[in-house]
Amino acid sequence: MFGDYSLGDLGSIFVMQGFAGLILFSVYVLMALGLAIIFGQMGVINMAHGEFMILGAYVTWMTSSFFQSYLPSLFSGYFFLAMILAFVASGALGMLVEWVLIRHLYRRPLDTLLATWGLSLILQQAYRSVFGAREVGVELPQWMLGSLHVSDSIEVPINGVFVMCLTVLITVGVAYVMYKSRWGRQVRAVVQNRIMAGAVGINTEKVDRYTYGLGCGIAGVAGSAFTMIGSTGPTSGQLYIVDTFLVVVFGGAASLLGTIASAFSISQTQSTLEFFMSGSMAKVLTLLAVVGILMLRPQGLFALKVRK
């Protein structure tokens, strides 16, 4: 298949394709981070993850409409405010959900699957009733559109670079909070042994609520960022949920490093295969590989060593 193309063409395509893989990697990490906290750390199977993301997307859309109508001069910078608002909105909804629903189910993790799935349906219909069944178009400031011109055949999409930077920033932030801060130690203590953590004076209920809120908040930021590359509609969250779980489960549920490694391997496999065959076939082969590896390593790539 390469016979017809010049060496220069091929070179730039490999660069571009590598970049496509990196963008896919960032997207996977960004969407999986929130779930890695909620599912990985707390053991809650959060089927409503996609809906928390879409809440972030809708907040972005509302912010963009607001700026367009009332503060057109500041429009070029609205996205940063939108991401903060998305974090706050999704996080707040997450904490509310934790208080109403999830905290009653910590002893029955499988039931969280059903409960959060129901929640996702409720949220979808709520979005449909509030924002309408049609997709909304989030208008982006001019500087975020288009691409950086590197050479005649190599062009780097700006939104891809933006997502990559955001992913690095949030990953570092989460890693710091989870592994360096006092609160992160509390979270890990609660995860490992809820009763003992309580006994040594950690307010486990509060830790749970904030952890869940943090996970949902990050989902919101991811949703906000994805308005650049995807659609915003009541059911758009469903587009992400399968890939998200795939990344988290494949990486090993309780490991942040695992999530990143798994996102990297899945995205690189996917984008390399996509180049040689059709998108559907690439997906099938990627999934087959994941299934195969999970059969050999049921705990995922990076399993936490725990005394049972």
Binding site: Q17, A20, I23, L24, R134, L239
Partner: protein, 419 residues
């Protein structure tokens, strides 16, 4: 054996005779029972449909919830508008149309179940409904078993024809071929790259398009790619497009994927004012989500655009906006859905009856001169004769009409040489 066969032969005759006798008292009662010029119910409804002296019930069957609600909302709105307008004009055979709306919930078995409910319990005279091919295929056996009448609005892959369905959207050859011819002539296009969502409609459409490109236009298909429904990452295929440098990108990507595709195309620096792109799946409805700035310059090939400049459309668009809000947009399928109730009304009046068999028989040749797309006529194969048009997407999310076929294009659901 022969006795039974005889009985089988005789009984329809006997039934007809009996019915004729039963009709006599009905006819003598006619002056008393009927209002104005409305014909008696017993005369226009011999199969027990939900028709009274003042009302006739039809069903609306679309997804108001679930994934497909995005697309089907417009169809529901258009059908309700048509019904309201018909009622304001005095209804059908002197009877107001009442509708029962059921929700298919984006779930195909639910569509079949609700269709059965509408036909068996509610005895509706016709159903305006379905959107995806999958939902139509689920409903079709029900329509045929209980002898219902379905008005189906979506452009679709063809390869189907039923006595019980009127297809008000275009079938694949009708939609695609004129567009390909135009772009080949206008842009001198020789090489094509196909991208579609992975299900029956894009695959069938691309198959037809490929045959046409290779056999008729003598061009070349340099790539044919399918992505799962809902896919949000198109960077790899965009790279392939950059590598193969096709004259035309031909797309039938649907749903949320569309938004991702055009946003990423733009982000990758592919300028649609220089790179020709012909889509058969993006209407004004989809552009709402994609954003005009991401798709401006692309060509779409279908039969209706909101911006069409004809007297019918100039009254239709304001009426639609008045009923459903200033910001709503009207895409190809929405317009086709609007045709459904009108075509049904015209057919009923032509047949002088609500009976499904009579409507099915009377349908060919029914013409609707008030169609927003201009003029349509029902073909013997229950599809519509219609013009095919090419529009160019503008920044404001509307299409600018670039080309339309001089004559109506004949629907050809089973195209020879394209299968």
């Amino acid at each position: 054996m022969s006795d039974e066969a005889n009985k089988g032969l005789l009984s329809p005759l006997r039934r007809k005779l009996l019915m004729g006798m039963a009709a006599v008292p009905a006819i003598t009662m006619l002056p008393r029972a009927s209002f104005a010029q409305a014909p008696a119910t017993s005369a226009v409804n011999t199969t027990g449909l939900a028709v009274t002296d003042t009302e006739v019930t039809v069903g609306i069957l679309h997804s108001a919830t679930g994934t497909m609600a995005i697309s089907e909302t417009g169809s529901i709105e258009a059908e309700k508008l048509a019904i309201e307008q018909i009622n304001a004009m005095g209804g059908v055979l002197g009877r107001k149309i009442k509708f029962i709306q059921e929700d298919g919930a984006s779930d195909w078995p639910t569509f079949a179940e609700k269709a059965k409910k509408l036909l068996v319990n509610d005895k509706v005279a016709a159903i305006m409904g379905c959107w995806t091919s999958a939902s139509r295929k689920a409903v079709l056996p029900v329509m045929e078993q209980y002898n219902g009448m379905l008005y189906y609005p979506t452009f679709y892959e063809g390869l189907e024809q039923s006595k019980n369905v009127i297809y008000t959207g275009q079938e694949a050859t009708q939609q695609i071929l004129a567009g390909l011819n135009w772009i080949a002539k206008e842009k001198g296009a020789k090489s094509f790259f196909f991208i579609g969502s992975d299900y029956i409609w894009p695959r069938t459409s691309n198959k037809i398009a490929r045959k046409h490109v290779e056999n008729v236009l003598k061009g070349k298909v340099v790539g044919e790619e399918y992505y799962p429904l809902g896919n949000t990452q198109f960077n790899s295929v965009i790279n392939k497009i950059k590598l193969t440098k096709p004259d035309v990108i031909f797309t039938d990507v649907v749903g949320g994927s569309n938004v991702a595709f055009y946003k990423q195309l733009k982000a990758a620096g592919i300028d649609l004012s220089k790179q020709a792109l012909l889509t058969i799946s993006v209407t004004e409805d989809e552009i709402d989500g994609i954003g005009g700035e991401n798709i401006a310059g692309a060509y779409a090939c279908m039969k209706y655009f909101q911006s069409l400049d004809n007297p019918n459309n100039k009254t239709f668009v304001p009426a639609f906006k008045k009923m459903w809000g200033e910001k709503t947009v009207i895409g190809d399928v929405t317009q086709a859905a609007y045709l459904g109730p009108w075509l049904w009304k015209l057919t009923v009046e032509k047949a002088g009856s609500f009976d499904v068999d009579k409507i099915a028989a009377a349908s060919p040749g029914v013409e609707f001169k008030g169609a927003p797309e201009g003029y349509v006529r029902i073909h013997e194969n229950h599809h519509l004769w219609s013009k095919t048009r090419v529009g160019r997407a503008k920044l404001d999310g509307q299409f600018e009409l670039i080309f339309e076929t001089a004559d109506l294009v004949e629907p050809d659901p089973f195209p020879k040489g394209y299968q």
